[in-house]
């Protein structure tokens, strides 16, 4: 009996002495697809990181070193002088105050615009999903269509409009413009998110006697943190990086950081100070960069949350 078992190699190897397959299948690390994948990723990484490297090293070098050295070389005597100058002393046209006024202008523009646009758009989205009114679908279609119109087409009418309202060239104008232009994409974002929440939840709240605002604040808002984070990131980066509206509507004294950066980099006086330009550019890009790094994980979760039914 035992002999016949041993003779048959297809029977289970109870002792586990031979190398016949058992348990999880081993997964070798160096497979062709994986090697190719990581090679491509590495190349892509270098491609994007190289300019950043050049910018950072250049910003830390004094001018003579830039003029005579290779642009890839590490700084011999690193100093933050260029950064300080970019922040406080770089000249934009006649004034030499650096980027700091532009930074604070951008803050003053971004914060109210972000808050206003997100608040309005979230209520829009909520109403479009849960409180359908006659023509709400048409309203939504028109709103979405708005996001396909190139900004340049609307620029002149909006200038006319804001000057009629006597707010052209003020903070109010630029905040209004940013809020309006945030509407289509944000409303779409919120509408789709709210539509993914179970409808019965809304019905239950209605049966419980809650009204429009009560349901919005006590039932919908607490469930919508991820999508608010997504909207926050979209709006902060979008408005912070905006150049066109800033240069047109904000007025000279309210120029956002991007406009000021452009003025510094393009200023025609003297020879170009590459280190100051590099430092100023990094400073301007710092806010969106920080927002991405801090909220990256939340962002991914938020985008995914819209796709999967909760």
């Amino acid at each position: 009996m035992t002999d016949t078992v041993a003779a048959s190699s297809t029977l289970p190897d109870r002792a586990g002495t031979t190398a016949s397959p058992r348990g999880p299948k081993p997964k070798p690390w160096f497979t062709t697809p994986r090697v190719i994948m990581y090679s491509i990723l590495t190349v892509a990484c270098l491609f994007y990181l190289f300019p950043l490297y050049v910018m950072i090293t250049t910003s830390l070098k004094p001018m003579p070193e830039i003029r005579f050295g290779s642009i890839f070389a590490l700084p011999i005597e690193p100093s933050f002088d260029a950064w300080v100058k970019a922040w406080t002393g770089a000249c934009t046209g006649l004034r030499c105050e650096g980027l700091s006024p532009g930074f604070w202008n951008s803050v003053k523009i971004t914060i109210p615009s972000v808050i206003a646009s997100i608040l309005i758009a979230s209520v829009n989205g909520y109403a479009l999903v849960n409180w359908k009114f006659r023509g709400s679908e048409i309203f939504f279609t028109v709103l979405i269509f708005g996001s396909f119109i190139p900004y340049q087409v609307l620029l002149y009418p909006l200038v006319m409009l804001t000057s009629q309202m006597k707010i052209f060239g003020s903070l109010w104008a630029i905040i209004l413009i940013h809020t309006i232009f945030g509407m289509p994409i944000l409303t779409l974002l919120f509408r789709n998110y709210f539509a993914s929440l179970p409808e019965e939840l809304f019905k239950a709240a209605r049966v419980d006697g809650a009204g429009f605002w009560r349901i919005y604040f006590e039932v919908m808002l607490p469930m919508s943190l991820p999508i608010f984070v997504v909207a926050l990131i979209l709006q902060i980066t979008g408005i912070w990086n905006d150049f066109l509206f800033g240069v047109v509507f904000a007025g000279f004294q309210n120029n956002p950081m991007t406009v000021q950066l452009n003025n510094i980099v393009n200023s025609a006086q003297g020879s170009p100070e590459y280190n100051v330009n590099m430092a100023a550019t990094i400073l301007t890009g710092l806010v969106p960069l920080i927002v991405y790094f801090v909220s990256g994980p939340l962002f991914v979760r938020g985008v995914a949350a819209g796709a999967v039914k909760g």
Partner: protein, 363 residues
């Protein structure tokens, strides 16, 4: 009006061109457990949403406790509703979920506490009060959802397929609990389901719906034994009723199915006895078919050959053929069935149903 809790009068509802409900009338007694039963898309949930006030009706009236609530907000109708997906507010604890409606209405704190306490005692969810819905099992969630209707002290409970998301075991447990709850509270309850077992076990009366029309409104017993038309007969009962097509012969005393004559002796026709040659459908429930010795005692019997056997544990289903029709019968699990085995089966037409083939209605 005195004894009626909910009255639906000539109710119509359409979404654009799609008519979901048409001229529907329904009266529900105080303290009655009424089940709306039907396949998906028959309008039963729509009807419930109309009663709840979550959908605007196109035409007609709804009265609850003698008050015309057709234009009232859901909260002013004296209803509580339990949803299939539980619809608990995910960010609130069980306690806050239960008290939400009361807080919205601006009730005093100690009143709220008292009511939440009572409801949680009845439903035995006191240990769960501080938890969030995510930390509850399906059965617990549905209990909290029922509690949310309970705290509001409403006249009418509306259930929209409350057990459909639960697994089989929990479903039968909670079914009993809902029945017990009804016996204790004696509220009017309207319960929507597509599950005939739930309908049969819970209902005082069942309204079977199809295409927005109530086909039959009656006690479970009556609906099971005397279905008014082919749809009801086929919908109620599992496995479904056997249908044999035939014609009336001998002045209404027999039905000719293929070559066989089946006696109609003892069957009570609803109206006039149909004329010879009328095309009819004879419906026989699988559990009304007897085997072997018992079959001999039946007015109609025949020898058949078994095609297929489905043991269900408590009983066994046998598939066979009778003339050109396939036939299912149910027998005790002790009976030995085998494909190919020849057996004698018999049935009594008096326990069956006869339908007009053209109109589908019971004769």
């Amino acid at each position: 009006m005195q004894n009626n809790s909910v009255v639906i009068n000539d109710l119509s509802l359409s979404f654009g061109n799609v008519k979901v409900l048409e001229h529907l009338d329904l009266e529900i007694n105080r303290g009655e457990f009424l089940v709306l039963l039907g396949p998906s898309g028959c309008g039963k949930s729509t009807l419930l949403n109309c009663v709840a006030g979550l959908l605007d009706v196109t035409d007609g009236q709804i009265f609850i406790e003698g008050k015309n609530v057709t234009w009232e907000q859901p909260k002013d109708r004296g209803i509580g509703m339990v949803f299939q997906s539980y619809a608990l507010y995910p960010q609130m604890t069980v306690e806050r979920n239960l008290s939400f409606g009361l807080r919205v209405s601006g009730m005093k704190k100690d009143d709220i506490e008292r009511r939440v306490k009572r409801a949680s005692e009845i439903l035995q969810i006191e240990p769960l009060l501080k938890r969030k819905p995510a930390a509850l099992s399906g059965g617990q969630r549905q209990r909290v959802a029922i509690g949310r209707a309970l705290v509001r002290d409403v006249d009418v409970f509306l259930f929209d397929e409350p057990l459909s998301n639960l697994d089989a075991k929990l479903r039968s447990d909670l079914r009993v609990e809902i029945k017990r709850l009804h016996q204790r509270l004696k509220n009017t309850m309207i319960y929507v389901t597509h599950d005939q077992i739930e309908a049969m076990t819970l209902a005082d009366r069942i309204a079977i719906m199809k295409d927005g029309i109530i086909q039959q409104l009656d006690t479970p017993h009556h609906i099971y034994n005397k279905p008014v038309n082919l749809f009801v007969a086929g919908f109620i009962g599992s496995p479904t009723m056997n249908f044999l097509n035939g014609t009336i012969e001998n002045g209404g005393k027999a039905i000719k199915v293929d070559q066989d004559m089946i006696s109609v002796h003892g069957y009570e026709f609803g109206g006039a006895v149909p004329a010879n040659g009328t095309k009819v459908v004879l419906g026989i429930r699988p559990e009304h078919i007897a085997l072997e010795d018992q079959a001999k005692a039946m007015p109609t019997s025949a020898e058949i050959e078994i095609d297929l056997v489905e043991p269900m544990g408590s009983d066994t289903l046998g598939w066979t053929r009778f003339g050109s029709h396939s036939l299912i019968f149910r027998c005790a699990s002790e009976v030995e069935l085998m494909p190919g085995k020849k057996m004698l089966i018999g049935f009594d037409t008096a326990r069956g149903s006869i339908f007009d083939e053209a109109t589908g209605s019971r004769l």
